[in-house]
């Protein structure tokens, strides 16, 4: 009991500080105590998480999580699925730039590949903690069982992480001026991108297919034969949303100009995808006659309304109205709505939607959430570090960076802390706000 109280306090304190930091960054403020607060929260969170991890690997999942035989998959599975979805920016932008040759989007390609790679690192790390025997995670590669969706997902994720690492390799190579290697990378880029997009299509949808085998266990609001399609379309939407979020915050963090027209196109595309998504869900609902179960039980109906309202309709509306298209902050707010909606959707499929079947037997322990928050924080911190030390963002006023170009450092501040990623003030005011 005491442990749980302490755990929840740490959790609330840390997430509060992180939210404060994100807010401050979004509105261009820099409150004096923010930086030390963020450093403190990170150290606290990571030390507590280290303790939790130790307990998990000594006394087992039962000692750290609220999962039981009656509820064998908890919040981690939902967040892992959401993590994969949120990392879809990598393949969406890669396809746009390299397959459809819409070069305008090239400036956001590298940041999105990096986001995706780190997102998958979050997923891999979570899985490492979640499965019973992480040192056997390679087993699906050696012991084939091709009837299993999980087997397919394991292969796709492993291969796609490799693809992402290769796609990001030129950035590192540039930094160290390894020109021959860069030229080689340039040649294999196209097949690599195509492979990445196919792998993503497959496993983004397969994460939904994983739940096809339990139609009787999931509430009709989320149990559908179209789950793979629903997962795939929503992953594209959230990929575009993440691209907007990443562009916005990196422009803040690194004092770069925000390309407003790019953001606008992203928003329009996301709006279209959200519209399609809504259509598919509505048709699916009607075909299955699921509207009748919207209110039984009511709390699930409310979750559904939240998912569709805050996560689909509201952002779609924002992205479609001319007024908000000119206001990056609104677009970013809408993007957060999409991320929230997709995360909630994944949690509903794998967790909330199961509750009518299992009964109220599971609520995550604070330790489960501490681990997840610590991993998310690590991914964000890694992004900040990479953006600082590697040529992730194109040089200012130079839309089309070519791989052969000399490496540039993303601005300037001494690489001493994570501060600037969290609570920065822009060194250059973004032009559209000036």
């Amino acid at each position: 009991m005491m442990v749980e109280t302490a755990g929840w306090s740490v959790l609330i304190l840390c997430s509060g500080i992180f939210l404060w930091g994100a807010w401050a960054a979004a509105v261009d403020r820099r409150p004096p105590f923010l930086a030390p607060a963020l450093t403190g929260a990170l150290s606290l969170l990571w030390s507590v998480a280290a303790v939790v991890l130790t307990v998990r690997f000594i006394n087992g999942l039962g000692a750290t999580t609220a999962m039981t035989d009656r509820f064998p998959w908890g919040v981690w599975i939902g967040l892992i699925q959401a993590g994969v979805a949120v990392s879809s920016g990598g393949y969406v932008v890669a396809a746009t730039v390299h397959i459809f040759h819409i070069r305008r989007f090239e400036p956001v390609l590298r940041p999105m590949v990096l986001t995706a790679f780190l997102g998958y690192c979050f997923v891999a790390a979570s899985l490492f903690i979640e499965v019973g025997r992480p040192y056997r995670l390679w087993h699906p590669i050696a012991m084939w069982q091709h009837h299993s969706i999980m087997f397919e997902v394991a292969w796709c994720v492993t291969l796609y992480m490799t693809v992402l690492a290769l796609e990001f390799a030129p950035v590192v190579l540039e930094r160290f001026r390894m020109h021959t290697a860069i030229r080689v990378m340039h040649i294999i880029l196209m097949p690599l991108v195509i492979a990445g997009v196919i792998l993503s299509t497959l496993h983004q949808s397969s994460l939904g297919s994983m739940f096809l085998i339990v139609p009787q266990k999931i509430h009709p609001l989320w149990s559908s034969p179209l789950l793979p399609v629903i997962y795939l379309i929503s992953s594209v939407a959230v990929g575009l949303a993440m691209t907007m979020i990443a562009s916005f915050f990196s422009s803040k963090a690194f004092g770069r100009a925000l390309d407003a027209s790019l953001l606008k196109s992203l928003a329009s595309a996301a709006g279209l995808v959200l519209g399609l998504y809504f259509l598919v869900r509505a048709v699916d609902f009607t075909a299955r006659g699921a509207w009748t179960s919207v209110l039984s039980p009511a709390w699930l109906g409310a979750f559904f309304a939240l998912e569709m309202g805050a996560g689909v309709l509201w952002p779609a509306l924002l992205f479609a109205t001319a007024k908000s298209l000119d206001d990056p902050r609104r677009l970013v707010a809408g993007s957060f709505g999409v991320v929230f909606g997709v995360t909630l959707n994944r949690l509903c499929v794998s967790w909330f939607g199961m509750v009518p079947h299992t009964g109220p037997v599971y609520f995550p322990s604070s330790m489960e959430l501490i681990i997840s928050l610590a991993l998310v924080a690590a991914a964000v911190a890694a992004f900040a570090l990479a953006a600082r030390f590697l040529p992730v963002f194109p040089a200012q006023d130079e839309g089309h960076a070519r791989p052969e170009q000399a490496p540039r450092h993303a601005p300037l501040a001494p690489p001493s802390s994570l501060r600037s990623a969290k609570g920065p003030a822009p060194q250059v005011p973004a032009p559209e706000e000036a």
């Binding site: 009656r70 025997r133 969706i149 085998i213 009787q216």
Partner: protein
Amino acid sequence: MPEEISRRHLLGRTGAAAGLLMLGARRGAAEAPAPGAPDAPAPTASGGETPSVLVDLTRCIGCRACVRACQSANRLPETEAGALRTAGAGASQTAGTDAPASWPRQELAFDLWTAVNLNKKKDGNGRERSRFVKQQCMHCLEPACVSVCPVAALYKTEAGPVIYRAERCIGCRYCMVACPFDVPRFEWNSGLTPVIGKCQFCAQNRLFRGQGPACAEACPTGALKFGGRNNLLFEAHARINARPETYLPHIYGEHEVGGTSWLYISDIPFEELGFKRDLPKMPLPALTWDVIDKIPAIVAVLASLFAAVSLGLKRGEKSV
């Protein structure tokens, strides 16, 4: 060579039960049949048919002899409940009467592969209806657990029983989610070497050597009857037809999720006894196979599409 069958020491908290061994690990790699490879000899015990057990709920007296037989045949730790039962009010109890207050509920666990519990339910007239119900893996004819397991740790032997090979298991627990009967259980308190536990139909230690499962052999009342599936279905129908005023005309397991090796007949509706209802009649693995089946085609189409688009647009870009 029954004792040579793969097993491991239980670790962690169950260390108190050190010396207890469990089916299914470490040395199993060499011994367990690989998928596709010919299995152990066809079970002569069931006359070459799919080995099955028919459970007649009207005959069960809740003595839990089957549970204890399972524990000793599979070297599982003896539970408190099993022990209590030995000492407590004996097998004189008749079906349907209330159990003594000291009669503790058993839950299936990674180290308790079968459980017998009293299920009570008030009927429409306020009359209490109850039966003892034995739970264990149903050994589905087309098991969902096997189809979802990414490493074939759960494996349907050619003879029929669904067995678990711990040396492959990664502990992802997808089997627990997928099983329509919520059978597989996980060793939650092991830090690094957790296993899944479920009934193995005594496959390697008894069945493949010509014996029926230990529980059926131990049952003193004939509530459990081991045999070939078709024979048992025939017998079940015969019992129902002989006493239609007693039995309900439903053999649980005949059609549920495509059929199971364990079959139940009862005089009280199954859903009142905690059996899962509304299970589809079709085998569940088909639901995912329908999708997996299409993956090669999807890959081929996407690959050619993307290659064409990308090359075509690139050429266009250059000529502009």
